[in-house]
């Protein structure tokens, strides 16, 4: 059991290393006063990319989207990276699950 877990871990790490080594373009989002900046983020179609979400508030947020299927908690004064795509052209809404009345934005995939 233990050996299996270790082996699994090694395999997963190798895959992670391989996947992480590829050059993935990065885009930035900032959460401030429970709002996203910018509220519209333009990204290329049919390309895997990552978004660095920095939370400058003193409260936790959750970067989430039902349309590109991602969710990740962003703790106060910290940042997270979320891998997204490749996506087809179109508009994909995202939101701050913890501040849904103010934290809204859209990915414009073109």
């Amino acid at each position: 059991m233990k050996r299996g877990l270790v082996a699994g871990w090694v395999v997963l790490s190798l895959i992670a290393g391989a996947a992480g080594a590829a050059d993935v373009p990065e885009y930035k989002l900032v959460i401030k006063d429970h709002k996203f900046q910018p509220t519209e983020l333009k990204v290329p179609a049919n390309t895997k990319f990552k978004v660095l979400v920095s939370n400058q508030d003193s409260t936790p947020s959750e970067f989430e989207s039902n349309e590109f299927n991602r969710e990740k908690i962003v703790l106060p004064n910290s940042a997270v990276t979320v891998f997204i795509g490749p996506l087809d052209k179109g508009e994909y809404k995202f939101f701050d699950d913890f501040h849904q009345d103010t934290g809204n934005g859209v990915l414009i995939v073109q």
Partner: protein
Amino acid sequence: MLGVALLVFREVLEAALIVSIVAAATRGVARRGIYISGGIGLGVLGAVLVALCAGAIAEALNGSGQELFNAGVLFAAVLMIAWHVIWMSSHSRELVQHMQAVGGAVKAGSSSLSMLFAVVALAVLREGSEIVLFLYGMAAGGAGVGGLISGIPLGVIGGVAVGFALYFGLLRIPLRYFFTATNWMLVLLAAGLASTGARFLLQANWIPALGNQVWNTSALLGNGSVIGQALHILIGYDAHPAGIQIAFWLAVVILLLIGMRMSTRAPRAAPATVETTRSTA
């Protein structure tokens, strides 16, 4: 207040659906109320701990800690459900006979049933830690205490009510088919959890997508809708799944079907593995 109630409701709903399936699947087990409450209690405790360690988890593994933690919890639950389902497929008949003949309960410790109570704890832990972080943020952000105090119970009661509705609905299934039905629900639950686990690994860029959106039914039933969310837990519904999610879903269903069939066919060494509480107590 409504925002608080809604978020709490959604998280509680997910955990409540899992708890109800487990509660139904452990029908006839002695003192299961205590086990399930214990599982929920442990889960709540775990949720607070996870929320407290959120910083450390987030920073682990080059920032992929959150995804790996979620995937780990999900896959652990899948393994435990799988174990139970396979065990159950060779024991459900005895269980039913026993329940019909004696009307008594089965000892939890003598079976893999206890595994399911750990699943309860894991489900509560995962959903609960989000609630804790959210509420902490609300409180720290200066949200009115009144809104929190009225919103939390509203959300909890709503989520738990749906769970109870599912549970009592399941109880109406005739005993002959009962464990077959709950076993199937557990299979679909496990497959769905595995698919969600795959989504987290994908989000951390640990596994390939194998097609990012294989289909898109979000116009029909979105992931964000309450029904979409409930089906997400119950059968692993996703409005636009990645190929790897479908692969994980299928793998769990197929492996469990094979496991169940082999377990049913395998000749049993010990004829009476199910004991009465009375005989041992």
